[in-house]
């Protein structure tokens, strides 16, 4: 089995999702829920050996699988993971379990379709992280839009149609240009879609810059970077809790992952040439979007803007081209996966009870929901990058790397610490602390068992990563060094 681990990671959730679809009658809803949970857990279980059997200290692709797929274009079903991608497969499969669980009682309409959408999406995202063939990557990258489009559109809030369409068209816009770029690379490489072969492909700076633009649009929309971020707040606000969780925790990472899988190693000269541009955009995201987050009256919107700001940090780390910076960016991605998922789950807990996301409707929640307040405090602190939580590790590494390259860069980057703390803690103060704001808050009941364990699972991950990040970073070292040596080499 071990040589098919990646295939299992992709196809187990998809197969489970298709099975769940079979239970689409209303009276089958409980069965659909359980089957979905079993499928999600199984999907997570098959990814665990990817970590335990992962050979640390080599940058080679591992668990490689090759199958001829479309000989006409020399497209192969080529899978493999290195230290950069392996963790995201685990993260995704873990988050899927949470997302399925989070929709357990909340979703009442068309349960089977809801659960199936998450499972299928989970498999497709695993495919994105493990594909080493350009077309295969693109197929997964695009098809994962369909489930999310449906999740937002069917189970979302009042303005869901607009948000779903905006989400789809924005990301589609980015990716179609990438398709042309992929085909162009296929042509100039003499007929190969293998991403690893493209790493060695000589390209002139002018070509690299044009390809950079095509890839950059695709991934920047997905990250999302300022100024193409506007779809994210809409999508987050309208999506159901599970959708927001997956969106923030995973799909944003796909964009950042594209940077390290495609842009940096395939287009090293253009990356260095345009690093200043990307760093500027990243800093704008960090600082400006940080301020925007500060004034949001809606909790989901606030967390959405906070996500953009944090993701700006990731791209900043990547384009510093140092071991510390890239690793910091990757750690930040994983940490943000946990923290943003947790925050959206928290908002979900409140929304299920009060049907409001507006900060003004709350106040003094700690009095009625003490257990919940404790969890929320931990996640708020993690979002503000308190040492000891996962949020600190990545941000600290990136800031260190930034200061090494230039003091002012580091200075601006470090404002995220201040801004992040301000908007998160200010929100925390207004929602949880103070006197009980109104009758509805006074009637709130504390966490149910399901919610408790849901949050506890993420809390554990946040703390573990904050206190002992070594298991996470050890996996990355070799691959990141290899990546940086690729970036350092000129391909002109």
């Amino acid at each position: 089995m071990s040589q098919h681990l990646l295939s299992l990671a992709i196809w187990v959730p998809i197969a489970a999702g298709l099975l769940v679809l079979g239970l689409s009658r209303d009276q089958d809803a409980p069965a659909a829920r359980w089957l979905a949970l079993v499928g999600a857990v199984a999907g997570f279980a098959v990814t665990i050996p990817l970590y335990t059997r992962f050979a640390i200290g080599t940058a080679e692709m591992q668990f490689v699988e090759t199958l001829e797929w479309i000989p006409r274009f020399n497209v192969n079903y080529l899978l493999g993971v290195d230290g950069i991608s392996v963790l995201f497969i685990l993260l995704n499969s873990f988050i899927t379990v949470l997302a399925v669980w989070a929709g357990w009682v909340v979703i009442e309409r068309r349960v089977a379709q809801y659960m199936a959408a998450f499972l299928i999406q989970s498999g497709l995202i695993n495919g994105v992280f493990s594909a080493l063939d350009g077309v295969l990557f693109y197929v997964f990258f695009e098809s994962m839009l369909i489930p999310m489009y449906l999740i937002i559109g069917i189970w979302g809030g009042p303005n869901r149609v607009y948000a779903a369409l905006k989400f789809f068209l924005y990301t589609f816009l980015g990716s179609v240009l990438m398709l042309v770029a992929l085909i162009y690379l296929y042509t100039v490489s003499g007929g190969s879609f293998s991403i690893l072969e493209w790493y060695q492909l000589p390209l002139s700076l002018k070509t690299q810059v044009l390809l950079f633009v095509a890839f950059f649009v695709a991934f920047a929309v997905k990250v999302p970077m300022w100024p193409v971020h506007t779809w994210l707040p809409d999508a987050h606000v309208e999506a159901p809790t599970g959708g927001s969780v997956v969106l923030a925790a995973i799909t944003l990472k796909v964009g950042a992952y594209g940077f390290v899988r495609f842009i940096l190693p395939i287009l090293p000269d253009a990356s260095r040439y345009l690093a200043g541009f990307v760093i500027t955009l990243s800093l704008i995201a960090v600082v400006y979007i940080g301020f925007v987050a500060l004034v949001q009256p809606d909790m989901k919107k606030l967390i959405a803007y906070s996500s953009i700001s944090h993701m700006g940090f990731v791209t900043l780390g990547f384009f510093l081209f140092s071991q510390m910076g890239v690793e910091g960016g990757l750690v930040q991605m994983i940490s943000h996966g946990f923290v943003s998922a947790a925050l959206f789950l928290c908002v979900g807990v409140l929304y299920d009870r009060m049907h409001s996301r507006s900060i003004g409707d709350y106040g003094g929640v700690v009095n009625t929901m003490p257990k919940f307040a404790a969890f929320a405090m931990l996640f708020a602190m993690a979002n503000a990058a308190l040492p000891g939580t996962s949020g600190f590790v990545g941000e600290f590494m990136v800031i260190l790397a930034a200061i090494k390259s230039s003091f002012w860069l580091g200075f601006l980057a470090a404002t995220i610490m201040v801004l992040g703390a301000s908007y998160t803690l200010w929100m925390y103060k207004r929602v949880w602390f103070g006197a009980v704001a109104n009758d509805r808050v006074a009637k709130l009941s504390d966490l149910s068992r399901r919610e408790f364990w849901l949050l506890a699972a993420v809390a554990l991950a946040v703390l573990a990563m904050g206190l002992y990040p070594k298991p996470f970073t050890d996996v990355m070292h070799a691959s990141v060094s290899e990546l940086l040596s690729n970036v350092a080499k000129s391909k002109q």
């Binding site: 068309r110 379709q113 149609v161 398709l179």
Partner: protein, 483 residues
Amino acid sequence: MTPRGLSFEFWPALPEMALLVAACLVLIVDLFLSDSRRAWSYWLAQLGVLAAAWIQLRSFQELPVRALGGMFVADEMAYVLKLFSYVCVSLMLFYSRDYLVARRLFRGEIFVLALTSLLGITVMISASSFVTLYLGLELMSLSLYAMVALQREASRAVEAAMKYFVLGALASGLLLYGMSMVYGATGTLDIAGSAAVMARGGANTTIVVFGLVFIVSAIAFKLGAVPYHMWVPDVYEGAPTAVTLFIGTAPKLAAFAVAMRLLVGSLSAFAFDWQGMLLILSLLSMILGNVIAIAQSNIKRMLAYSTIAHMGFMLMGFLTANTEGYSAAMFYTVTYVLTAAVAFGIVLLLSREGFEAEQLDDFKGLNQKSPWYAFLMLIAMFSLAGVPPTVGFYAKFSVIAAAVEVGLVWLAVVAVATSLVGAFYYLRVVKLMYFDEPVDRTPVEARVDTRILLSANGLALLLLGVFPQWLMGLCVIALARSY
């Protein structure tokens, strides 16, 4: 080459003969049937198509071969395209049965016309002389005009038929004129023979290019490419949906074959000239088709403009003037036809007695009424939009790859930009089906055979999307052996 002597072997044309016999049989048998037993002529027509397909399948070994004094050619390309034409027409008959019954169109005429039209299509596909080609074209077109007008009491259908007829006749005239120019310059009606004369440099360039313009115009008309697209929306909207399904599928395969026979088979020496013309047609079709489709509230009109855009995409593969491009264009046409069959099939299913489901709003909440049909339509829409894992993606992928390979990167960029516009209106259908509440709750009902075939047709789009090599390879082989 010029026809070798007068060899009248006819067996390569056996499928066509089977169709002709079936058409005549239906015509006669239908006379003696009462209304309650119309199903006999229906099944007879189906049997005719099946027989033609069966004969076709049996005759694969000895290709390519020319017959009937060199007027008729059976090669691999014709083989593949004809098989798909049979499939399309058979599917159309299956899907539209209830629809036709409800509108009192379930009569011998439509079966006969479908068969003769199919016969015209196969003759066109297999034409190896200008005369055969024109014959097939006229046979197909005249049958189609009549089919559109079959719903006599509907003024819209008659208007559409009139428009179709007048413009179609004009296009036929253009084609005839163009072909006569080529004949005048080369002195032969044989397609391959004319190519040989041009390759020798024995043809007057001015005359040929003059004729070429007319030929390209006629082909563009048949494909529905901008600026020869005016008839498409009106005919699609005005015709009974069953006929729209017919027009939207098999004739596209024939139009592709005509383009291959004339532009590649005969005028390949002037590829440089027609490349430029096709480039403009392709560009305009993609842009105009996709943009105007947004404004439509009638699904048949929307799909009509979508056809226009898709033909633009197909031409993008074609205009590269190399085998990769042709095979990509062929793959594109075949997948488009399969997808359109699903989309129109669903439109047909939603129509009931006295109710045409042609407004986009009629799709509201379909997921709650009939989730399976909504799912099939979802696949069809994403396939038309070119989103993986549906087969439509690989079709777009192939033609874009063909364009990039000859250095037309800018055209590829324009193409993907217009496909983004296209995604908007396809998604709107998905939105209506999945996000909106239904107006009424009556579930969609269909005959068992329709249900099975439509499901198979829809799932094929997905299956071919996961394993596209089979069909892609088929198109490559067919074209490589034929040209």
